[in-house]
């Protein structure tokens, strides 16, 4: 996937057929992070910030429902991907790009959480199993798509 055209806040990417299939497969995984993973504080007691924790979980659950709804709408929108040059043209505005980044990162972080939060610097590598490789691949693929979008944002400057 690469940026081929930019006009103000409108971006057009070329995406190959294989990349499109991969992107849609990744997006279908959304959402992955369990609500309980989100903590409002590291130190506060349940008594002090219990209400804040509840509000955080509710707000994120609501946002994820809305994101999923938008995602399904986007994936079913035929004109979103226009066939060209053996692949597709994907047109996105900055708001959509930011939203897509958010969704892809949820899948990336969610895959990492499912993998047991590996951290090579801390001597906690990914344990290679068939299942873990699937999530590891999702992490890496989402990261690649994110870098393309972030690079496009950077070029906008």
């Amino acid at each position: 996937m690469k940026l081929i055209q930019r006009d103000g806040e409108d971006f057009v990417f070329h995406i190959s057929k294989r990349e499109k299939r991969l992107l849609l497969e990744m997006l279908n995984l959304y959402p992955l992070i369990p609500t309980a993973h989100h903590r409002v504080s590291r130190t506060a007691s349940a008594k002090e910030l219990g209400e804040c924790q509840k509000l955080l979980e509710e707000a994120l659950a609501e946002r994820k429902r809305e994101n999923k709804r938008q995602l399904v709408a986007m994936l079913n929108q035929e004109r979103r991907f226009k066939e060209a040059d053996g692949g597709y043209r994907l047109a996105l505005g900055t708001v959509q790009m930011d939203w897509l980044l958010q969704v892809l990162n949820e899948i990336r972080v969610g895959s990492w959480v499912i993998l047991g939060e590996p951290d090579e610097k801390q001597g906690k590598p990914v344990k290679p199993t068939t299942e873990s490789l699937r999530h590891y691949a999702a992490m890496e693929f989402c990261g690649r798509f994110q870098m393309t979008l972030l690079d496009a944002f950077e070029r906008q400057k």
């Binding site: 409002v40 504080s41 506060a44 994120l60 930011d98 949820e106 972080v109 944002f153």
Partner: protein
Amino acid sequence: MTETVEPVVLPDIEKREQTGTRNDLEPGYLVICWDDPVNLMDYVTHVFQVVFGWPRPKAKFHMLQVHNQGKSVLARESMERAEHYVHQLQSYSLHATMERDA
């Protein structure tokens, strides 16, 4: 990078502030972003720009602080505003929390 991306601002913040207790309104909470091995550095910079409306150098400074020192204090706010920022940052799947300023 994202000058044209509008910072996320909820329109009901000021209204909610009016209803809080004095303690809630005092800037006694720190909004902290913690390091993790999964969020991409450029992504973290991007999120700081969007959520706080910061210019790229400031966003990058805080991103590097997170990366090198394990955490960065992003803001010192009232409980309600700190809560708002934590909601925004966590909606981007960053590891952000609010902690009482000792």
